[in-house]
């Protein structure tokens, strides 16, 4: 996918100097998210596809675990990308694209909660089967059990703590960015994250047979 994104938009038409600077590749081989978004703003659909492929799965998991309901998560997921598409003309690369994306996702999730109460329904997100990793059967069973406990505990977390943990793990955002997205201060975000991690760790470390 990276190789694909590198060839995007190297077209025959010369770009204006401002656009050349905006599109200038960084030291990494993959273009920046912001550069891809700017290219999409100028009509390069392949740039958007690259951006989408880069973030879609993590965003989908974030919303799936936040909503705890697949249909709701898919609705919000589509709404988020729809807003990103609509916002392409007004997009300015003043902040990380990931922060921008998850801020939109967080707000869409809040709207989704307000619109309907589906998120209060019983969670229908089941743990997926894990591929064979070549581990010993006992270890596989142990890891599978740990995963199940963690996902179960994650569903039981308060919404704010779950949100902060997912922003941390799926988006890889810093506490400052998480605080900015969730509309809290840094200490609150830090506290929520600490509690979330503590509960999850406790669930994983539960003695066998208690779950």
């Amino acid at each position: 996918m990276v190789a694909n994104t590198q060839t995007i938009g190297i077209g025959a038409l010369p770009l204006p100097r401002a656009a050349q600077l905006a599109y200038a590749p960084s030291m990494d081989t993959a273009p920046e998210d912001s550069a891809l978004m700017l290219r999409y703003r100028d009509g390069d659909v392949a740039a958007f596809e690259a951006l989408y492929r880069r973030h879609s799965d993590a965003l989908y998991r974030y919303l799936l675990r936040l909503c705890r309901h697949r249909d709701g998560a898919e609705d919000v997921f589509q709404e988020v990308w729809g807003k990103i598409i609509k916002a392409r003309d007004s997009y300015r690369p003043t902040a990380k694209f990931t922060t921008f994306l998850y801020r939109v996702a967080h707000n869409c999730f809040i709207d989704h909660i307000r619109r309907n109460k589906r998120h209060t329904q019983t969670a229908d997100v089941e743990a997926d089967n894990q591929p064979d990793t070549g581990e010993l059967p006992e270890m596989q069973v142990e890891r599978s059990l740990a995963r199940r406990r963690l996902l179960g505990a994650l569903q039981e977390l308060p919404e704010e703590q779950r949100d902060v943990f997912l922003l941390r793990e799926e988006a890889g955002l810093s506490l400052d960015n998480i605080a900015s997205i969730t509309g809290t201060n840094r200490e609150t975000a830090k506290s929520r994250l600490r509690y979330a991690v503590k509960k999850l760790r406790a669930a994983i470390d539960e003695p066998a047979g208690t779950s």
Partner: protein, 222 residues
């Protein structure tokens, strides 16, 4: 220093075991149908701006064309005849004069002359009439060329009508000779003489010619 402290704080808030187990279980992927729908939406939204422009400029262009056409048609139908056509009217009048029989022209020039009366100053008027007629005939081709709109069919019809008129006149002259109504005008009298000669009535023709010469001694008969 602050950055370092923040980095340490961040690491305190994470748990490697939790992170690893979470990511082991994080294998859900967005459904491909959803991916396709979103990418299609993105592609549709990123189509060139001119397509959006065309969506409203095309009907507008059609509307403008229709409005202009209607305006032009109304202009053409309602505006009075422009002055450039006055020349055509003049040439038409001249053309009509060229086609008018000589006796009518005589009456135009000398309306007080009563038919059947041979005036003493007719001979003085004849050159004027002839000059007017020759001028009209000279101008007539130019007028016809200028008009350029008279069809061959209508010309043929006019010629046919003239020929029929002449034929009727010849038949009348043959039957009745040159009576007073014919001898009242120079042109008709000369036509009558010519018709008699053509009909082979040379005696009657010469008799009429003598009478004509007596009536118009100054007129050069053909």
């Amino acid at each position: 220093m602050t950055e370092e402290r923040r980095s340490n704080e961040n690491s305190v808030e994470t748990d490697a075991v939790v992170t690893q187990i979470y990511h082991d279980s994080a294998d859900q992927r967005a459904p491909e149908t959803l991916n396709r729908a979103i990418l299609d939406q993105a592609a549709k939204a990123a189509r060139p701006r001119y397509s959006r422009l065309i969506s409203w400029t095309r009907p507008m262009a059609w509307a403008a064309t229709v409005m202009l056409s209607v305006a032009i048609v109304l202009q053409l139908t309602q505006v009075p005849v422009p002055e450039s056509e006055s020349f055509e009217d003049d040439t038409q009048a001249v053309d009509t004069a060229a086609d008018t029989p000589l006796e009518q022209l005589e009456e135009t020039v000398r309306p007080e002359a009563a038919p059947g009366r041979v005036s003493s100053d007719v001979s003085s008027e004849i050159p004027k009439i002839e000059a007017l007629r020759s001028t009209a005939k000279q101008v007539a081709p130019y007028a016809a060329a200028e008009k350029g709109q008279r069809s061959d069919q209508s010309k043929a019809a006019v010629l046919e009508q003239e020929a029929a008129t002449l034929g009727v006149a010849s038949a009348t002259f043959e039957a009745t000779g040159c009576d007073e109504s014919v001898t009242a005008a120079v042109e008709t009298w000369l036509r009558c003489i010519a018709a008699l000669e053509e009909a082979g009535l040379s005696d009657a023709a010469s008799e009429q010619r003598e009478l004509f010469t007596a009536a118009f001694p100054d007129f050069d008969t053909p």
